[in-house]
């Protein structure tokens, strides 16, 4: 009988969800929200993600860099949020992640423009990442000439940059020997 009295005392214990929103506390770790405008395609989140929910890969035609998030694999640890330099991935307070019938509906994609190497014409990074780098370097406060010198190879892929460096140093040594 005591239990029944208690039922009367506390009344309704359930929330009216889904007919009214369920309010989560501040700092709740919900589904990572992706902001395409801010994303520069640096892939830091993909490296940090412990459960491989985020993947960053070139598409098959090698024309676009695809940021892909699979919510079914996500464990809501928030590593992506921690490492993102531009706050393009941030944990939201959204927890309703159910989809109808098909797991593929959980996928979220963002395609970014790729930058081609000016020497070998291979895609190596995104246009937005280059723009982001340039903007950050401008803020350092170098004069025009230094900046131009420092960013000489910014449109070159790492492979070609290596070749150029090797070539330059060989020329230097050859010149010295003469």
């Amino acid at each position: 009988m005591k239990l029944l009295d208690m039922t009367r005392k506390y009344g309704n214990a359930t929330y009216n969800y889904p007919f009214e929103p369920y309010v989560v506390p501040e700092g709740f770790r919900g589904k990572p929200a992706y902001d395409y405008e801010k994303c520069i395609g640096c892939a830091a989140c993909a490296v940090a993600c412990p459960s491989n929910a985020i993947n960053v890969k070139l598409n098959e035609e090698k024309t676009k860099l695809v940021w892909e998030f699979d919510c079914a694999r996500c464990i809501y640890c928030g590593r992506c949020d921690e490492v993102c330099p531009t706050n393009a991935v941030m944990l939201s307070d959204e927890f309703e992640t159910a989809v109808r019938f098909d797991r593929k509906n959980l996928l979220e994609r963002g395609c970014l423009e790729v930058e081609y190497c000016e020497k070998c014409n291979k895609p190596f990074t995104t246009k937005k990442l280059i723009a982001y780098d340039l903007e950050r370097l401008k803020r350092v406060g170098w004069d025009e000439a230094t900046l131009a010198d420092k960013t000489k190879y910014i449109h070159t892929c790492p492979e070609c940059k290596k070749d150029i460096t090797v070539e330059n140093s060989t020329q230097y040594f050859v010149r010295k020997r003469k």
Partner: protein, 579 residues
Amino acid sequence: MKKGDNFISKVKEKITVHNIERQTEDQVTITVDRNDLPEAVRMLYYDMGGWLSSMIPNDERQLNGNYALYYVLSMEGGKMTIEDELPQEQKCWITVKTYIPANDPTFPSVTCKVPAAVWYEREAYDMFGLTAVGLPDPRRLVVSDDWPKDLFPLKKDAMDYRHRPDPVDHRDEPDYKFLEPNGSGVVDVPLGPLHITSDEPGHFRLYCDGDTIIDADFRLFYQHRGMEKLAENRMNYDQMGYLAERVCGICGYAHAIGCIEAAEKAVGIEVPLRAQAMRVICLEIERLHSHLLNIGLACEVTGNVNAFMHIFRIREFTMELAQLVTGGRKTYGNVVMGGLRRDMSGTEIKKSLELLVTIEKQLIEVWDAVMDDKAQINRWKGVGILDRQVARDFSPVGPNMRGSGFGRDSRHDHPYDFFNQLEFNIAVEHGCDVYSRESVRYQELLESISIIRQCFEMMPGGQTIIKPQTMIKPGAYAIGNDEAPRGENIHWIMHGNAQKVYRWRCRAATYNNWPSLRYQFRGNTIADAALIVCSLDPCYSCTERVTIVDINSKKSKVLTHKDLKRYSQTLKNHPLKNM
């Protein structure tokens, strides 16, 4: 004299000890000859008050050309009487290690002398092909019955972790031999493959004389996921904690802490005090919601659905508490080597303290109401007796053990993290039955609330994470222990190359509780079977359907999950009546 030296010198009197290695202040490993293994373990277990906490078979052929076995004993005193406990400063872990040459993978079975080793030695064969000579029960344990005979998954060169052997046609599938008692009039009641209360797979055979269970046997591991194989040589320590969390859906945080602390202890990392306090808080929150779940289910399985609903109403507050302090309804995704990733703010702590007041007040109220109900108490009292000698032989852990009058608690015996600085009582009951176990759980709930309060009060400021400066040392190993809601979890990690794990052994609390369950069933009725399993708070799963076989008339009857549940709750219309 260092911790454990007194025990080792006693062992040395009888047995040649080849090597003594110290991992941490309270963890020592002694290497003995293969043939001396059973005697060494027996001496430590029965003569000096040890308990078998884990056993780790390891494939060390790449390191030294041999297999190795590590029997982990927790030295804390036999605890059969109150005086029979070691002083706090002598408690330690002693690991007995032995090498097994690769060309002769056999070893003398320890089970004949220490029954607690039975599951470990069966698993050693399944996973590594190491045969325990003289093992009374050499059936398969972990891998399925149709698993290829010569494929031992945890051998380093056996298989890729993605390999799945072709399933055998069900007609050719070998039958698992259940241990059957002989005699006329014995009725065989298979219970499974899904448990009524926890909805997880496990197959039980109850042998009944009329309504009374005279013996039982069970087959588990239907959900073996091969996590240890998955982690080896593949996962880094950023991922390990998150994988360990997924061992269990209820007490995963305790696994993450066990796993990460084993890795931390192996290389001697000290985490900041604030992180230690927060780890304890999260562990205790986990205990709150897990114990409430179990007490609720123990009411529900006996038909007291009203109490179940009230207890779950309170449980919701504990989930909200978890939401406040970690940002998720479960306390997951937080533990990494070197500390914790998420700090708590002042407002969160303030709100948590308010929630704790509500939880405590309503909890006492509901428990008093349940205790008022004589029908409920009668269903719990005298059921599922765990005999004290059986308990001493099989090393069970957690509330299962404490309900039988043994004050075994990892938080007290081997304090980790912040527990050195906290004051708390170990809840012990002496009834040995379901009632005692539930009562222990209730007392622990109140203790947990007090522990969380103390932690909030004493929690120092500062950072919650350090960068592990010490590089991982390949070959270093250690034990990580913690008291999960169901009992002590033991994780054992040996570091490998390139910041990866060489061997991870995860021993969940329930693993030590299963082998003694057979004795707990004996003498009880079919209606109580589900309740007894529930009172262990098992981490697996009861009965999608039950087949009842009368051996005499060769008649069988299939009961649905609902039928058995209805019978457990109402005790009317006996399922064997119309046979």
